[in-house]
């Protein structure tokens, strides 16, 4: 095979077949995919289903702790999980730029395969397109996930109730700062890595331990502050957070302080917010902490009756509003 992708590889002919066989089938190895039919036959799904799709365009393709490949699996697995569902199958679509080094593609696919095995959610159908140079930036990936809902009342952003506790499964801001650091070559950000991780097992643990919860959300783009503001608006409740209890890794705090960023607005890819009645909080936290991805889980605040907004009690005892992120966060210039 060529050392870089040619337009032929997306033609649907022999060249496409070679790419699919050598690159995807080998790595994703599972009987449903290997049938190579036009669609995957999913014969064993039961009950209500959850379905989610997401496209991944992150630049650079590789960053500390992950790549676009692992992200494309974790992101969709997590979105499906947040509905109180057990993700079962993934699809993936690749849009590849002509001239992409094959080695790069292989590395990304290998990362996807590892992530899919770790999450125990196979990739059962896929598609590849190669577009002329300049028509996309190296590689875009779309994944769609389908899962079985296993709770009587699926969690939703509309279900937060006054008196609920707000839990977070760990430190916030790692992913956002990592991407910004590797994108801009900020060499002083040596101690940060993405938190990208599959949360499906943790969600199953939480639901097994405490039964139904009111809200599950993963605070990805816009970070904790934007996601909680969305929830406050959807549920028409107030949310009060305590700044001292929100976990932020030292390196992230320092990097943010240097760049003038707010970690509460930075993306996460391996964290979930869980909002549930106060009485269940301790058990849910214990369940989160049993997961390798929930070791730093804590309660960060509470839901109150009142205006649909998020207020933060700051470290020094002051108060401020946390709004929604407007556009991208930019490092300060002065």
């Amino acid at each position: 095979m060529e050392s870089c992708l040619l337009l032929d590889a997306g033609s649907g002919g022999r060249a496409s077949q070679r790419l699919v066989k050598q690159c995807f089938l080998q790595q994703f190895a599972n009987p449903l995919l290997e049938r190579m039919d036009d669609a995957a036959l999913l014969a064993d799904l039961k009950g209500a289903l959850a379905m989610s799709t997401d496209s991944y365009t992150v630049t650079p393709l590789f960053f500390a702790g992950g790549s676009i490949g692992s992200l494309a699996v974790h992101g969709t697995v997590n979105d499906v999980s947040m509905l109180g569902a057990r993700p079962r199958y993934l699809s993936c679509g690749f849009i590849l730029e002509e001239g992409l080094p094959l080695e790069t593609l292989e590395q990304v696919v290998a990362d996807m395969a590892v992530a899919s095995r770790k999450a125990n959610v196979p990739i059962v159908t896929g598609d590849t397109k190669v577009v002329p140079r300049g028509a996309c930036d190296k590689m875009f990936i779309n994944t769609t996930g389908i899962g079985e809902i296993f709770t009587a009342n699926p969690p939703s952003g509309h279900n937060a109730r006054p008196g609920d506790a707000v839990l977070v499964s760990g430190a916030v801001g790692d992913h956002g700062l990592t991407i910004m650091g590797s994108r801009e070559g900020l060499s002083f950000l040596t101690d940060v890595a993405t938190d990208s991780a599959p949360l499906n097992h943790m969600v199953a643990e939480i639901l097994a331990a405490v039964g139904d919860v009111h809200v599950l959300r993963d605070p990805t783009r816009g970070g904790l502050a934007t996601t909680l503001t969305e929830i406050a608006e959807q549920s028409q409740v107030g949310i009060e957070l305590d700044e001292t209890s929100i976990p932020v890794h030292e390196a992230v705090r320092n990097g943010c302080s240097f760049l003038g960023l707010d970690p509460l607005y930075l993306a996460n890819e391996g964290k979930c917010i869980c909002i549930l009645p106060e009485a269940k909080a301790a058990d849910a936290l214990a369940a989160m902490r049993r997961s390798p991805y929930g070791q730093e889980a804590v309660c960060v605040g509470r839901v109150v009756a009142g205006r649909p907004q998020v207020t933060l009690r700051t470290r020094i005892g002051g108060q401020r509003l946390l709004g929604m992120l407007e556009g991208a966060q930019l490092p300060r210039i002065c």
Binding site: E184, L186, E243, E250, N254, S257, F258, G260, D262, R307, Q309, L312, R313, T314, R315, I316, G317, G318, Q319, R320, L321, G323, E326, G327, A328, Q329, L330, P331, R332, I333, C334
Partner: protein, 361 residues
């Protein structure tokens, strides 16, 4: 950086708040900060909600994006539309609306080559990667940002890179402070002086505040305790105004002479247009004649067009501390962070954006 945490200590802050109250002893204090990082720090830390009622916080012309004049915005928007040219800029400028609601973001979507960079050196790298195009860096910012631009120009000269130039819109802080004080209607009783700018300037360039205008100026850091300490020092010298360095762990009284020498080598003071403050003599930085070939103004023949003020926008009065953002009739109605009318709503460091983001309405 680890020690910074000590300056967020709630007990220390409480003690400083008490000291501030005691010192003021019922007297009012109307202070202005002139640094976007201070604006954000005061809101973000929740400090604003804790300040005694006697203290009025004004947010002055300290955000580089906000003070960029309409005519300057119009000029770089025109520039973006020229062929064979790449405009390299800090991200904040992308969203600044110019005449007719145009912005660099729109220009980019319509095909203009606008690249967001994080440092002037990135812009120089861009020039090296595109030898067939002219890369123009939009130099905005105060004394803190300008030395890096000067260093980049010197590097470009040393490496003989011919397709790089700078459109210098840099501004100097002390002349703006003087202009603010000349207009007694602004009623500013004291300045919280910018920590970052002061690392370059030191203390002396502010001496005129106390000597000529009898207004105290205190250089402050950015953690809550830093700011509170600066306010305490301010309150303490209201009777006998002086200029005080309350941020000695970062600011040397003599400033940074190497950075100033670099500025001196590449730039010379020039008159500049400020939003809200108008033309201020010797408040900008123009490239020296020996750098004329890298001066976008000369090389590309840029002139600042006459631009009528944005209708209804009161950013100018906000920057002078005459009104608080919510007093502008457009605030949170026609002017929001998603659809900013004036630049004080665009930059995260702008006072309107900070009011919008952090305070209840």
């Amino acid at each position: 950086m680890h020690s910074e945490k000590a300056y967020q200590d709630p007990d220390l802050c409480r003690a400083l708040l008490q000291r501030l109250k005691n010192t003021l002893d019922g007297r009012s204090l109307r202070f202005m900060e002139v640094c976007g990082t201070h604006t954000v720090a005061i809101f973000q830390s929740g400090l604003r909600s804790l300040l005694p009622t006697e203290v009025t916080h004004l947010s002055g012309p300290g955000c580089p994006v906000c003070v960029t004049h309409d005519a300057e915005v119009a000029a770089f928007l025109d520039l973006a539309e020229r062929d064979s040219l790449i405009l390299a800029t800090f991200g904040d400028l992308l969203r600044v609306p110019g005449p007719g609601g145009r912005s660099l973001k729109h220009a980019k979507a319509m095909g203009a080559r606008v690249e967001m960079v994080y440092s002037p050196l990135d812009a120089l790298r861009l020039a090296m990667a595109h030898p067939g195009d002219m890369v123009v860096f939009l130099g905005i910012g105060f004394e803190t940002t300008a030395p890096a631009v000067a260093a980049t120009l010197r590097t470009a000269r040393e490496r003989g890179i011919g397709n790089f130039c700078v459109f210098s819109l840099h501004k100097l802080v002390p002349p703006a402070l003087r202009t603010l004080l000349e207009d007694t209607e602004n009623n500013i009783e004291a300045f919280l002086l910018p920590g970052h700018v002061s690392t370059i300037l030191g203390v002396e360039p502010y001496a005129f505040l106390a000597q000529e205008y009898h207004v105290p100026g205190v250089i402050g850091g950015f953690e809550p305790a830093d700011i509170l300490l600066a306010l305490c020092r301010m309150a303490e010298c209201l009777q006998k105004p002086s200029v005080v360095n309350a941020y000695p762990r970062a600011v040397d009284n003599a400033g940074n002479s190497r950075a100033r020498a670099l500025l001196e080598e590449v730039f010379q003071p020039s008159d500049a247009l400020w939003r809200g403050l108008g033309r201020i003599a010797q408040s900008g930085l123009a490239l020296r004649p020996q750098y004329a070939d890298m001066d976008a103004v000369q090389r590309l023949g840029i002139s600042l067009p006459h631009v009528p003020p944005l209708p209804g926008c009161r950013c100018g009065d906000v920057l002078k501390g005459r009104i608080a953002p919510p007093q502008c009739p457009l605030f949170a109605k026609k002017c929001t962070p998603s659809e900013p009318v004036g630049p004080c709503m665009v930059s995260t460091e702008g006072s309107c954006a900070a009011y919008y983001k952090y305070t209840e309405r």
